[in-house]
Amino acid sequence: MSELLEHPEAAASKPETIEKVSIIISKGSLEGIYPGLIMANGARMEGIDANLFFTFFGMDAINKAKHEHVKVATVGNPGLHLATWAGGFPGMSALVTHKLAGEMEKLDIPPIPEFVQMISDTGAGLYGCKASVDLFELSREDLIDEVTDVITVGEFYAMAAGGHIIFT
């Protein structure tokens, strides 16, 4: 506020800023999970409040048994420019995932478990979706310790109030 008073001319031309984001991660593939994680971490880096809401297969990112085994979808993924029959070869998904993981490491992008932990350390909230937990017959113990809570859609909206919602 003091800045506004001291530099009224700067305040007048200052563009609107984003103060809070709530990011939904709904897909369970590697390419489905990373964008939401990068956006959440990026928000915290800018000092923007961030909450992550994991739903449906996006829950794999916070599932103890699965978060180390998230893979790139090689079938029906036109972005890979790989023939569908080739994408279906045994081991193809693991191979592409391994190759991509190497490229990401070069850019200092952490593997999913480390990334989620890192985002939690930035002070962002991690939330599981109650409907998905029920649907997949999971319990709180199946989710990583960093998860803040398992919440309903209504609770998510209440939490997201006053900020932006990003669905991935």
């Binding site: 990068i38 971490n41 990026g42 915290r44 880096m45 800018e46 000092g47 850019l107 200092d108 992008i109 952490p110 890192m118 350390d121 930035t122 002070g123």
Partner: protein
């Protein structure tokens, strides 16, 4: 690009206040830049991060990622956000007198 006075010396900064020429920076400027960015007093832990940022930038030509900062600076990510609540990588770079980090991670 504009010129501002920190610790009695003129320095060139970009629109967000990041120094454009790290060699214009002096330690005496750090406290002043910090106060202008809502950090009232720089502790020893702040300095550990600031010195690491500066050393990495001067040595490699780019600022460290938040991941590297958390792993190598000796200050874990949780504490980094307590020290620099409005974004550690960005704020520490500003106080350390180096250009704004441009990484996404």
């Amino acid at each position: 690009m504009s010129t501002v006075i920190y610790a009695g010396r003129p320095v060139e900064v970009d629109a967000e206040g990041f120094l454009q020429q790290p060699e214009q920076w002096t330690e005496q400027m750090a406290g002043e830049i910090g106060r202008a960015n809502d950090i009232d007093a720089l502790t020893e832990r702040h300095w550990q991060v600031i010195n690491f940022m500066r050393k990495t930038y001067l040595g490699t030509g780019s600022a460290p990622s938040i991941r590297t900062l958390g792993k190598v600076s000796g200050v874990p990510i949780k504490e980094l956000y307590q020290l620099f609540p409005k974004g550690p990588a960005k704020l520490a770079a500003k106080i350390a007198g180096i250009p704004k980090p441009r990484g996404c991670i």
